[in-house]
């Protein structure tokens, strides 16, 4: 593929000055400093297509956990001199700029990345099938972790990972984010009937910063 594209700026591979404009820009990570936010906006302005790459860019990722805690206390715990360290709420890229496409996951699925990159190069709008992780998990004929009593979120989370976590006996914790238009309440009720508290469920959805995606409005705690 390197034959067909010109790499503008990829600091892992080269040390050349940044290009003035981009056809496609892949942005990893969630902004955490003032400079990050400024650079993101600059990149948006000079790029035709902006793709959010990975869970931090698409959802906020693990750094967003502090949004659900007392982030000022967390800062004081880690740093004595904290006044000059930026401590914004962590938001996905789409909070700051228009995001054209998202490639979710932590880590991303490399096959999916290559497929979408090729589609973008060919001018085909990429689409990730809106299927739950359960769909891929059942194809693999895995035993169901939810039925075994584990807090697996596969029923409402976006597939495309090959259900890699449940296939390894680890319940889905939603690193790819929820499918569009899902109703989280059914799964929530199911988990609560399995003796999980709302607090425990929230801890899981906070992990990759998707509590605010599952519940766009503040949840009504039962």
């Amino acid at each position: 593929m390197a034959e067909h594209v010109k790499i503008g700026d990829f600091a892992f591979l080269e040390d050349t000055p940044e290009a003035p404009i981009y056809d496609i820009v892949f942005v990893e990570g969630a902004p955490i400093t003032e400079e990050n936010i400024a650079r993101l906006k600059k990149l948006r302005a000079k790029s035709k297509v902006l793709v959010a790459l990975g869970a931090c860019a698409a959802l906020g990722g693990i750094a967003e956990i502090k949004n659900y805690q007392d982030k000022f206390e967390r800062m004081r715990y880690v740093y004595k001199n904290f006044e000059s360290i930026n401590n914004p709420d962590i938001k996905p890229l789409s909070y700051y700029v228009k995001v054209d496409w998202e490639i979710p996951g932590c880590p991303i699925n490399k096959e999916e990345f290559l497929k979408i990159a090729k589609q973008l190069l060919a001018g085909i709008p990429p689409a990730i099938a809106q299927r739950p992780v359960c769909y891929e998990c059942q194809i693999k004929q895995n035993k169901c972790l939810l039925q075994e009593g584990l807090p697996c979120l596969g029923a409402i989370m976006l597939a495309g990972c090959g259900a890699i976590c449940p296939s390894n006996n680890y319940p889905c914790d939603g690193c790819r984010g929820p499918m569009k238009n899902t109703d989280p309440d059914k799964l929530n009720k199911q988990l609560m009937s399995q003796n999980y508290t709302q607090e425990e469920i929230d801890l899981i959805t906070q992990r990759f910063g998707l509590e605010d995606k599952v519940y766009p409005e503040p949840p009504i705690k039962m």
Binding site: A2, I7, A11, F12, L13, E14, D15, T16, P31, I32, T33, E35, N36, G61, I62, A63, I65, K66, Q69, K71, E73, R74, M75, Y77, V78, Y79, K80, N81, S84, I85, N86, N87, C106, P107, I164, C165, S167, N168, N169, Y170, D173, L203, I204, R207
Partner: protein, 431 residues
Amino acid sequence: MLIKIDHIAKIEGHAGFTADIVGGNVKKARLDVQEGARLLEGILRDRSIFEVSQITSRICGVCPVVHTLTSLKALERALKIEVSEETVLLRQLMMMGQILNSHALHLFFFSLSDFFDFKDDLALIKKYPDRAKDALFIRDFGNKIIEVIGGRSIHPITPTIGGFLKMPSKIKLSRIFDQCDKALASAKSLTKLFASLKYQNFTRSAPYASLRHLNEYAFYDGLVKTSDDSKADLAEFMNIIREHQLQNSAIKYSYYQGKPFMVGAISRLNNNAHQLNPEAKKALKSAKIILPAFNPFYNILAQAIELIHCVEEAQKLLRQVLRKDLKGATRSEHDELIQAQLKAIKGTAKGIEAMEAPRGTLYYFYEINSNGKVVNCNIITPTSQNLARLERDLEEYLPKLTVKNIPKKEIEAKIMMLIRAYDPCLTCATH
């Protein structure tokens, strides 16, 4: 002369460099780390011990394995859980995969171009197509090991407190075993190339530290051995090197007895070269470096020698693992054990553990309560130990460059070469 480098490419994370040299004296030399604070140690508090290792894995995409495993080991220490021999073997194997994929990346893709004048690795690949294949093969070999045991090469899934959620398939392990000879040949040719390069002549006196184990070249376990030949247990040493936050920065520096010190491949080689595997020993001999080495540029060569060692070690470990029956405990057996250990905690329990990450010793400290929640946490990464020494090195190295009247561009290139020789990971350093 004012030197200002806005962005240093080919390191993990973002940093620049500023220096001011007046009349041959360095007035200041400073790394400007441009990473934000993710507050990892803060956000882990009040969270469950069952999930924190999955979260700390996300500190770094290059070395997630060592973050996962060190985190788990520290929790097991706090819980007083001993893991089985097969668990140790499998974790050691994963660590070989971790060192191999990280070193191969740093050696070929980050460091090699510094010895030539390439700005772009695609040109480098054209010049050394076979060595590029070697580097990629070794990376792939390392990643395969992690994937087969951990379920995934980045952010492995199966490692858990007390062992593994799922045992690897022996068929897949034996397929990796079949590739060992080819990986060893690749490691040897790559190391030969790195032994033939001309390294900058810059020797300075600086303390160093690494783990030291009685029976093996330490990665997974050991005491801390320093250049003054003192040995300390991990808890003692983690206390001695206490971190200091730089004013107005999300970076912390660590000092040993008030002095900046170095960790990483060259420090390991200085301490443990006698424990290298046979082929790695041969490579060390033909590389003709005198140990202990006090030239930080040799960190690159030390990584190359470790490549050979780690492939040999992986082969040894695979042989052992393939003779085990790899049954592992079930989830409920794991859970029962952990719950029993949690019940035994009165108040809180503490655990400190360390491993040799690709870039040096990585320390984890947890204090947990009987509800299975993290009360306190501290993580000291290799780069946050190395940064103070790197800055001191730059201060000492710069005058040597400026007296020779070489052009500023070349001075800047040499500065970046020294920075990259340390293989810094600023994402880890700020975590």
